[in-house]
Amino acid sequence: MNIDCPVPYSEDDVVQLGHGAGGRLTAELLDRLVLPALGRRPDGPLEDAALLPGGGELVVSTDSFVVSPLTFPGGDIGSLAVHGTVNDLAMRGALPLALTLAVIAEEGLPLAELRSVLDSAGKAAQQADVPVITGDTKVVGRGAADRLFLNTTGIGRRVPGLAPSSARARAGDAVLLSGPIGLHGTAVLSTREGLGFETDIASDTRPLHRLVRALAPFGDAVHSLRDPTRGGLAASLNEIARDAGVGVEIAESALPVPSAVAAACDLLGLDPLIVANEGCFVAFVAPDIADAALLALRAHPEGAQAVRIGHCTTAHAARVELRTLLGARRVVDMPSGEQLPRIC
């Protein structure tokens, strides 16, 4: 369904918000502009973090954070910037060795606010057991940025035995999910004015590397890991299905959608499958270790609600299908563009 030649909109020659939403538009931008410009082929798997060339088991990842507002229920831009990069490393089976932190602040940002989010970043790094070893601070004039942007880069080392990659999922794999979905996106949204809903939803932002380490005993049987941030679970599953060339089948009845998230999504017309998360991951593991892996995840507080949501199949390769509550099937498509801007 995606072999269309895009209609040549003349308006398309500027960057749109949807290009940053983690869905189909983002993929297009990467494939057609970013990767070719950097001399990379556009068809390899795109992972959350890369193996350092010549670096043995060293993994690198970088991420910028532009969430608005800076503070939201359950976290803030500081803790998010640490967790985001720690988690991207973890999705390649790596534990963080060190982080860098770069600040871009807008003229006029109260110092108290800067201190509060940096304190929070410091605390998050400490809790994740990773030092922040270097950084950078830039200030731009009023209007040249929106209050505060952060960038973190992380270096990690892979846990011996773990070598997950989005290209390694294979037919028969069990698909596990480490926790409930939809919390982060709806928590940030609930802080925006005038949305007409109040909830006690808090972001799930948290480091996931310890939970990944819990999978170390299963070594090579852990095929793929992905944390469904922008674009939500729908994007993550589609990326793995595409990179690995497998079909993914999930059951709607197995999806852990907290009732407050479901209610907020109903109200706003959103699909919980495409809402961003910051504290859970999907794991594609060999079927014979699936039950043991689930138990291992559940033994940790951040994985207490881990569930099995589906499996991989040779049918419908590179596509994700969902069995609805009533037993019908539908395709879960890659989200197309802008859903909720500035949530991470």
């Binding site: 369904m1 995606n2 269309d4 895009p6 209609v7 909109y9 308006e11 398309d12 500027v14 960057v15 749109q16 918000l17 949807g18 189909r24 538009l25 925006r192 004015e193 005038g194 949305l195 007409g196 909830t199 009845s253 009732s259 407050a260 479901a262 209610a263 109903d266 109200l267 706003l268 017309g269 596509r319 299908e321 609805t324 509550l325 009533l326 037993g327 019908a328 099937r329 539908r330 395709v331 498509d333 197309s336 563009g337 802008e338």
Partner: protein
């Protein structure tokens, strides 16, 4: 707020499907009027689980889809003006006009903002007295009362920099128009629960009587729809044509008095073009003369537009249920959610988008 698990229970769903299969003695064609219902039907695959012979015809009830291209072109013309802050529900932003869409205008510097409630637009107007704030007021009887209230509120505040670009539509005239069409295949209607929560169902009684067609006021959850379909089939089998209410937890016969009062004060009924269907007599709402000062069309003099539809788009036939998206030669090829040619592909409630999101292809029944 409680999540409506009880309206999504698979066991109850199977039971309702079983009862449907036992009740239906022959094929029946039922139209769900509302796009939200289309969305649930397709997302849950309910239309494919129905007993053979019971066919759902997807109706014209997606507010984004029926908004005329001319209104969209007016919206672009207003939004492109310097000094204008243009506000709208998110769905409308991606709908292509004749030459551009609001997102593209925004990327080029226009001040276009997504709001989740029209009151937010009033607040923006209050806080930015030097900006002209315009809200795109589209949709059915469901969104109209809130928009009416914003006008009353803005009038009370004496806001001179707030206006509405109005293209409201009304459901009963559209049902009548469909039934008047000699090719109409619809044998029963599921009326949209949220429209009836505002308007009640008195308006549907003369329609049911005159055209001898059962109407069941129905909710949006999977089990609501299954129950609504079952109630319609029972009526059809028994030869009855009553207005019945499946959605009793939210709807009463007379509707919501307060909302109706606000509507009556701020708007008046007018002939209205429905995209793909044509102009329906008394088919929509416009601002009443007392509130003409809040009319963006007048304020910005954007009445006349040269709007041209894409020649391949069969949105009209889709909206009336005459054709399926998979019948459209552009579906999934030139027309995708990423590059929509017509409104039914843009709105998540649009039939084309619902089909595309569910991965339906031509081979799917």
């Amino acid at each position: 707020m409680k999540y409506l698990d009880e309206y999504r229970d698979p066991a109850l769903g199977r039971e309702l499907l079983g009862r449907l299969a036992r009740t239906a003695s022959r094929p029946w064609r039922i139209m769900e009027v509302c796009g939200g219902q289309t969305h649930t039907l397709v997302r849950q695959g309910i239309d494919e689980l129905l007993p053979a012979g019971i066919r759902m015809i997807h109706g014209p009830g997606c507010p984004v889809c029926v908004t005329p291209l001319e209104t969209l072109d007016r919206a672009m013309a207003v939004a492109a003006r310097p000094g204008v802050t243009f506000t709208s529900f998110g769905d409308m932003l991606r709908v292509p006009g004749s030459t551009t869409d609001l997102l593209a205008l925004r990327a080029r510097g226009a001040d276009v903002r997504v709001v989740y409630s029209p009151m937010e637009a009033v607040r923006i107007a209050e806080e930015n007295p030097d900006r002209e704030v315009v809200f795109l007021a589209v949709g059915f009887e469901t969104t109209a009362p809130a928009n009416a209230m914003t006008v009353l509120h803005a009038a009370r505040l004496g806001l001179a920099n707030f206006s509405l670009l109005v293209s409201h539509v009304l459901v009963p005239p559209a049902m009548t128009a469909l039934l008047e069409d000699p090719d109409c295949e619809v044998e029963a209607f599921l009326a949209a629960g949220h429209v009836c929560a505002v308007m009640g169902w008195r308006e549907y009684e003369p329609i049911a009587e005159r055209y001898q067609v059962p109407v069941v006021v129905t909710g949006f959850e999977p089990l609501d729809l299954l129950e609504g379909i079952l109630m319609a089939v029972v009526q059809l089998e028994e030869g009855r044509y009553d207005v019945e209410n499946q959605y009793a937890r939210a709807v009463r016969r007379r509707g919501n008095d307060e909302a109706q009062l606000a509507l009556a004060r701020v708007f008046r009924v007018t002939d209205r073009a429905w995209r793909g269907i044509g102009t329906l007599p008394a088919g929509g709402l416009e601002l009443a003369p007392e509130y003409a000062a809040f009319d963006a069309v007048r304020r910005f003099e954007v009445g006349a537009q040269h709007s041209v539809e894409d020649p391949d788009c069969i949105a009209g036939a889709i909206l009336t249920g005459a054709r399926l998206p998979t019948d459209c030669r552009a579906y999934g090829i030139r027309c995708t959610p990423r590059t929509p040619l017509g409104a039914p592909m843009v709105s998540s409630e649009g039939t084309c988008a619902a089909f595309h999101a569910a991965g339906r292809t031509g081979s799917t029944p």
